[in-house]
Each structure stands twice: as structure tokens, then as C-alpha cells.
Symmetry: none
Subunit: 408 residues, 2 copies
Amino acid sequence: MNELGGQLLSDVQGRTRERVARAALSRLMEPQDAAGLALVRAAGAVDGLRIATGELEPGPELEKEVTSLLADNGISSGGAGLAAALRRWAPRIPDLAPERDLATMQRLGGRTIIPGDPTWPAQLADLGLHEPLCLWWRGNELEFPPVRRVVALVGSRDSTSYGASVTGDLAYGLGQRGYTVVSGGAYGIDAHAHRGALTGGTTAIPTIAVMAGGVDRYYPSGNEDLLRAVANQGAVIAEVPPGSAPTRYRFLQRNRIIAALAAVTVVVEARWRSGALNTAHHAESIGRTVAAVPGSIHSANSAGCHRLLRDGGAVCVTDVGEIAELAGSSGEGLVEDKGAAVSEHDGLTLEDLILLDALPVRSTTSVEKLAVVAGLSPESVRAGLGRLGLLGLAVSVSGAWKRSGKSG
Amino acid sequence: MNELGGQLLSDVQGRTRERVARAALSRLMEPQDAAGLALVRAAGAVDGLRIATGELEPGPELEKEVTSLLADNGISSGGAGLAAALRRWAPRIPDLAPERDLATMQRLGGRTIIPGDPTWPAQLADLGLHEPLCLWWRGNELEFPPVRRVVALVGSRDSTSYGASVTGDLAYGLGQRGYTVVSGGAYGIDAHAHRGALTGGTTAIPTIAVMAGGVDRYYPSGNEDLLRAVANQGAVIAEVPPGSAPTRYRFLQRNRIIAALAAVTVVVEARWRSGALNTAHHAESIGRTVAAVPGSIHSANSAGCHRLLRDGGAVCVTDVGEIAELAGSSGEGLVEDKGAAVSEHDGLTLEDLILLDALPVRSTTSVEKLAVVAGLSPESVRAGLGRLGLLGLAVSVSGAWKRSGKSG
């Protein structure tokens, strides 16, 4: 083997190690785990994983770098960012098997892509520290379209016939004009968006469904056929590994990926409080354009759209031409910090929200099991359960825990 | 008669002469005849009428003053402003009979009010040079409500059942909250606005119809009963004297009065091209708030509303509370815009506000174009841009101007 060949082999091995490490890290950490993402930035994915799993000592300089990265992103760790994170990750270390996860994806006809891959969506870099570690990808392996050619159509699960017809028309029309339509694969507006784009689509990737849970399952089950078609003609993707449940926390984090992939996020129908508004806030926070479709003021399903229009953040759109115009004028990576996403979390910290998601509704569970499911240290679980208990969101039954009725 | 009584009598005689002169001038000139309005500013109504009818020579100094007043208002007369106007007015001089017109109004149970009367709407002063010479008034003789208590509801003549029901609800609700509803007395949205306000109204002047033609006739004839009820419970008014036909030009000029009377102009339903949009633009141009009611994107009658929302000039409103909020935050002539912009727009002169409104958000424009759009002289535009620039509300990009991000 000549020198060039040796270099190439070494590069390929390096990429493979990086891929395996990121796959493992994506199981170890919940999406948007700031300390973990800062660790990967500071130490790289391979050494980051070795530190996260306790194989390597972080050392005071690295800890300082992580703390400073977190501070740069407005996250105050009180100096204990990495130490707390290590305790949070510990319970999941025994379950790590990245090679198995990568093999699962291959068996499903998919793959795991990481930043630097030719198919990696460059626009995700606009998420900064919160760029996903990797994407579990089921579908066509093609170069990702640039942000200005991608539009997100989102909205309520319980869409009206108005919302269904508007979404179908817009998605079909966007497909005809060569746009890729991104949505969340859910019932209602999401499903109509994918369907319209599959019918009207003229590009290699007409539509992409970004899942909150693992892509090994097509969820919700009522959309199984649709999502299979999306994977066949476009792509079904997630930042969490196969087997991951679609928790509420993951739904909210997933929305930032939808927002970042597209130049414009169009909310077609949304109630006064709706997950679609969370996607809109994510889009705003990274400087993407938010648009809303108006509707009857008598329809509760348009109240969220009108709220977005009234608050001044969203542009009123009524047809494909207007959306295309916005996509063209949208800056790539123009960041304004508005820090709005937090309000949707009912005032809970991200950690408490993860914990709430992990709490069973009917049966009870132990602190140790919660630590594994939530990816938090047993100490954090205990403290969090205390806070959720005070808020009436969790109850303890003879030492074991479950959700209280009111946390729905 | 003592000295005080003599002074009083002289005042009353002065007011009467002024009233007769303005009544005559309002027949001589079309609404918004800039040269005529400048003449009245410069010479007063009584001498202005004597000059307009050729009884008095204007003299070079007065001509200079009129030219300069016109220039201040962005109207270039090329030095021939007054001379051309005199030729324009000449054909109507033989028809002047102001005493007859005033008597006609008295016979109709009405009157002619002029600036300075206790019943004169103070908010019309925000029209500057374009304030009407007088108002022909049929209805209750009461102090006019302040601008913050007046809302204009306008829209298409061919309203849909959606538009009818929304307008009726809003007008009724505004009436219940003590607002005066202003509209144009036409079929469709206007009629529903007056009807709702008559039913729900709780103030002395629940509703006012501003006519494009003389108030001696209730026009259109299909609204005769409605307009009679408006005159009985509120007021039917016009700036043109009895017997004037409602020409298209007068419709468009009439819209500026509707816009100036109200703190907020709400467009309920409007086609892509609609007279209601003209009222909205008048409102914007004097710094009043414009609002639009959203509707189905499949309805051509909402296309104009969505256009207003999309172009960024209008606030999306869906109920009476939102309209009341806008009216409350609307200053008299000094409009505070929605949301975050409030503090930055505080303390701006009306001229600077108009200039700010005229500045495009995305593209840039030249001083010359701004002078046209804002209706200000190039010198005023340059000075105003300097002030707005210092406040961080406007930015210059290689010689052309646009709004800065912070001015929303």
C-alpha cells in the first residue's frame, strides 16, 4: 500500500470511529444535552465518548473548556456541568452497543450520518451547540437540499377539513416547484403535508419526516403506510437511536430539527397552545422565517396561527408563491437570539421535563429505573421527583413513583 | 351694550362669517384641494374666499406663502399653484350660495361645523393641511368622542355571510364597550357595522356614517332606513355640501376622514383591490393603527385583508378585546405601534412617524421616492432620515434607505 492509500485508509477508519462514537453518544444523552454537546465540541466525539463512559479522565482544562462553552451558550452550570452530566449518563453506559445500532440501521436499509458526511444537512449547523450528534436516516441517500429549497409545513393533529385541504394544496404545489417538504410524521396537518408532497414532488427528496422516537418503528401506527412511502421516496429521520420511545421531551427537541432544516416554517393550523407553535419558536430563535396560514376567526384550529400573526413573528401566507418568495429571501444562518422556546415547557427545567416523560402513568417505578430511562443520575432523579411532587405532577406510592392525575 | 358684550357679539359675528366662508369654499373646491387649503391656511377662510372668488388680489407675498406651504407638504406647484387653482375654481363661482346651503342643513335638522367648534372632532387636525374645511353634520349635536374611543370598521360591499357575522359581532361588542363605530354607510360590511353598533351601542354617538356625497340624500337608497337610524341615534356627515354627488374621487377622499376619526381602522373583508384598502393606507399615512380580520384563504373577500397582514402594515385581530387593546394603545395623532416598538416610537413627531411608515422593511428606497410615498419634501425627508438614523430606526445602505431591524 502506498502512502496515499494508507492515508485514505486511516481517514476512513477515523470517520468510522467518529460515527460509532456519535451513535453511542446519541444513546447516552438526550437530545440537546448541553454539557454532552459541549464535551464533544471540546474533546471530539471519540474522546468525548471515552470521557462520558469513564474510560478517560476529563482533566481540569477540559472541564474549564466545557464550562466556558456552556457559558458562551448562556447555560450556567455552576462549575458542575460535566460532573453532573457524568452522573446523569452513568446509568445508561451498560446499554451501549453502537455497532448493534449501526447494524440495525443497515438491516432497515438505512444508515447513520454525521456532520461532515456529504449527505449531512449543512443547515443544521445553524443550531450551533445544539446541532444533533448524528441522524438516524431511513430513506434515499442523497445530497441534502440547501435550506432555501426546504419548507416545513406543520400544524395540529386534529386538523379540520380546511386545514387538510390547504395543507394538501400547499404541499403538492411546493413539490411541483421542486421544494422538499419537511414535517413531523404525525396525524393531521403533518400527514397531509407528507401526502401532498409525495404526490406533487418533483425532486429526489420530495419529503422528509423527522421523528421524535427511533426510526425502526413507524409511529404513530396509523401512519405506518404513509411513513413507509416517505422512507421509500424521501426520508424518515431521527436524532435518537433505534428503539427510542417518542417522549414529550423528544417531541419538543425534534421540532428544532424541523425548524433548522427549512428556510420557512409554515404553521397551517394550530390551536392557541400547540406543538406547532413550539416549532415556530425554534425557527424564530435561529433566525428562520415563520409563516402562518390565516383561517376563520371562528375556528379554534386557526387561533394559534392568528396568535403568531398578531404577535408579529409570523408572515401571513395564502399560497405557494408567497411561501416560495419567503424561502428565497430567508437568510442562511442569520441568528437572532430570542430565547422563546422555554415558555412552552410550562416553566419546568429541561431535566424535569425529561423526568416527567419518564414517569409511568399507571404503574409505579423506582428511582434507579427512572435514572436509566431518563438518562439522569439517581441524585438528579430524587431532586427532580421532589420538585415534580411539589408541583403536583408526581406522586410517591410506598417509595415508588408515578405521575399524578393532573400532569396528563 | 357694554364692552364685554360688544366683544362677544363681534366674536359671534366673526364665527358666523368664518362658517359661511368655509361652507362656500367647500362647494368651490373638491376635497383635499391642496392649493385651496393652503390659501385658507395663509389668508384665513374669509379672505381666502374673497381671493378665490376674485374679489381680492392675492399679492406676491401671499402667493409665495401658499407655494411654500405646498412645498412643505411635498406638493410641487411649479410656482403656479394658486394661479392654476383660481382658474379651476372660476366655473363654480356663479353657483355659490352658502347661506342657502346652511339653511338647507337647518331644515334637515342638521348644521355645519368648522374647526374650533366644541363639536369639531379634534383628531381631524392630524390630517394637517388636508383637514376638511367644514363638516356637514346630520344627527346628534354632541361633543365628539376622543380618537381612542373611536374604531372604524370597513370592508367590501359584497360581503360574505362570514364577513356579515364577524362585522355584526365586532360592531355590537365595540358598542357595548362604549366605542363609537365609524364606517362609510355603504352596502355590505359598512351596513353591518352601523347596524351592529346601533344595536349594541351604549354611548351618545354609537355610530357615524361618513358620506362621499351630500348628506341631504341618504345614499345608497337601499340603506335609506339604516342611514336615517344612524342620523337619529348617531350622525351622518360629509365634507361636501348638500346636493353633491358621490363621485369616485370623493369616495377616496372621504376615506381619509374615516381613517382620521378613528384610532384603529379594522378591515373586516376586502378583495385584493378594494376601497377599504385605500382607507387602510390613509390610516397608515397619518400614523393610525390598521388592523385586519383574517379569513379563509379560499375566500376572495379576505384576500385584501391577508394582503394587508402580509405587507406588514396591519395587525391581525380576531375579537373585540384585541381591537380595544389597539385603540387604547393608540395615541391621538401619535401612534404607538404594537409590541416592542412602543418605546422607540415614543416621542417621534407625526412627520417622522409618517416617514418611518413609508420606509420599506426589506428593500431600500431613495429620498425622492420617500418624499412621494410619505408626502414630505425631499428636505424634510433628509432631515427626518437623519433623526431616525440617530434613533437606530433607519439605516442607509450605500445611499439608499430602509428600516433598521429594531424598528419592527
